[in-house]
Symmetry: C2
Subunit: 113 residues, 2 copies
């Protein structure tokens, strides 16, 4: 999980994921929009592959990169679980407030107290 | 967005987010489960705060940390958008395959071809 989030923590790598979400691409296709050496691109591709967010396959001289959605899903689930816990907490607090408020009918001037 | 994912790319910080998803906590409460100096914990808290994933408030000598769900939501949305694009691509490919297959009725032995 560390590796997935670390892979996502770089704008160039996120741009590569963005490209790959629209379909597989060779390393040189991935490199095209960047003002970066091919060696730097290859390094980013390796970080993405090691994190499990993409897979690559070399056929002849061309390495094709593909998004591996299970890597992204794991990260997405980790976040959404924490957000859900946090939201449930608020629902409980709200319910508790309603319960506490119900028995005592509103008094005159209670707004100012 | 870089900072959010970088903040999430550390197991100690994810554990802190986990704790804060269940409610606010002071820095010393956050430090409790870790075998770490308070200075190291404070540094992690700063990374989390600078990323926008948590907010902190100092009252007297106690700094209270709170989850800021908008930070997490942004990261979650970034991921789910790419996953959705990727899934739509597959839906389109499937539809295209169905269209291509329909006009030609299955032939004997076509499985082997």
């Amino acid at each position: 999980m560390d590796r997935v989030f670390q892979a996502l923590g770089d704008p160039a790598r996120r741009k590569m994921i963005d490209r790959l979400s629209r379909g597989p691409a060779s390393v040189s296709e991935l490199a095209r929009p960047f003002d970066m050496t091919l060696a730097a691109v290859v390094q980013h591709v390796q970080v993405l592959e090691q994190s499990g967010v993409i897979t690559t396959e070399k056929i002849g001289r061309v390495r094709t990169c593909r998004l591996e959605p299970r890597g992204l899903s794991a990260a997405e689930r980790w976040i959404s679980k924490r957000r859900a816990t946090w939201e449930r907490r608020f629902d409980r607090l709200e319910a508790l407030l309603e319960e506490t408020e119900e028995p005592t009918p509103p008094k005159k001037g209670s707004k100012e107290s």
